[in-house]
Point group: C3
Chain length 149, copies 3
């Protein structure tokens, strides 16, 4: 018979889940507020990102460069809202999650893209801090239009 999980282990699992939720929230906040240095903390150095069939990125540096180049202009407004977290702590330093996303990208003065999809993420704990090790977005829907005022 398996030994019952200790209280300490159960608390740690709950803390890990909350920390991963905060990591994901920080990632979106840093993108939307263009906080690139703080955004860098969200990824492991060897992180990979699959942001769509044509956007396969290897390494934190490449991911940050892509995000800055594609979303960082002063004429752009982005909003990312995360929902429906399903987080699984796989082992002491590994976790997995799915999330739903609703995002908006405004390229002033005219273009508006609203999107819906989901993430499939893997996280790693390094030096006591959870980071994104791999992230993948699958889109259900994109709506392109004119910016509304």
């Amino acid at each position: 018979m398996a030994e019952p999980t200790s209280l300490e282990m159960r608390i740690k699992t709950l803390e890990d889940i909350e920390q991963i939720k905060k990591l994901k929230a920080k990632y979106w906040r840093c993108v939307d507020r263009k906080l690139w240095d703080e955004l860098a903390e969200c990824f492991t150095e060897d992180a990979t990102a699959d942001y769509g069939p044509k956007v396969q990125l290897q390494g934190r540096k490449a991911i940050l460069q892509f995000l800055k180049d594609s979303l960082g202009q002063e004429t752009m407004i982005t909003t990312h809202g995360g929902h429906n977290a399903e987080i699984e702590i796989v082992d002491d330093n590994t976790a997995r999650a799915t999330w739903a996303l609703n995002d908006m990208i405004i390229i002033q003065p005219s273009t508006r893209m609203e999107g819906w999809g989901y993430y499939e993420d893997v996280y790693a704990r390094q030096n006591g801090q959870w980071r994104k090790k791999s992230t993948k977005i699958v889109r259900y829907l994109e709506e392109w239009g004119m910016q509304k005022r």
Copy 2:
């Protein structure tokens, strides 16, 4: 004077709240990805669903049939985003929650419905797993239009 709740009980309550959040996230993910077998796990066999004045469903089988019939066609895209969870653990095997919902239903090639509302749910734990025992959606707002591209 009431005896203080044991640490184990307090941890269990936190775990239950997280499990119910995951259950709700799984429910929406399974609807949006059309994963009907996995969706069945989200309901008790005697579950009821109140999806509006004309949609009163009794039993898991009827609920699944309704969801498949109304949202399952390949021409449909749905997105469900949950917010604002208020979960209350009532007793060892019963919980209640309210949630806010923002959903979208696209019936290709043309119809688009975006909705806002809230859920009132009751959950039961059966064989160690939380499931929906009753679910009710009250809508604030529906917007019908043409699909955007």
Copy 3:
């Protein structure tokens, strides 16, 4: 060397985070359902609200009056969805958080405003209950248009 945090303290922190999430969810639910008496419980008596450059409010009474006056008419429908919580328990009775917001205000029969932004909040525990002590909204984006049907 710092003494390790006791299990009880770690559980309490997790409980506090969940209570603050519920407080925020209750706040939005009470606004959207126009439950003004219940809404009052969400604020400390000396709470402040910064709802934009022209809306600086001092005290629970002023905040409630503003919310009732600006969102309370029967012709208005509002929906508030919160995301991306980053909650920090500062000390036993103080916490801070950022949140992302997507809200909608319909003024029937015609006006529609959809907004995106983020909150910066401070919470205080009073008589065992977390309440909003200060709240600030910064908007990324507002879209004004006609109500859709």
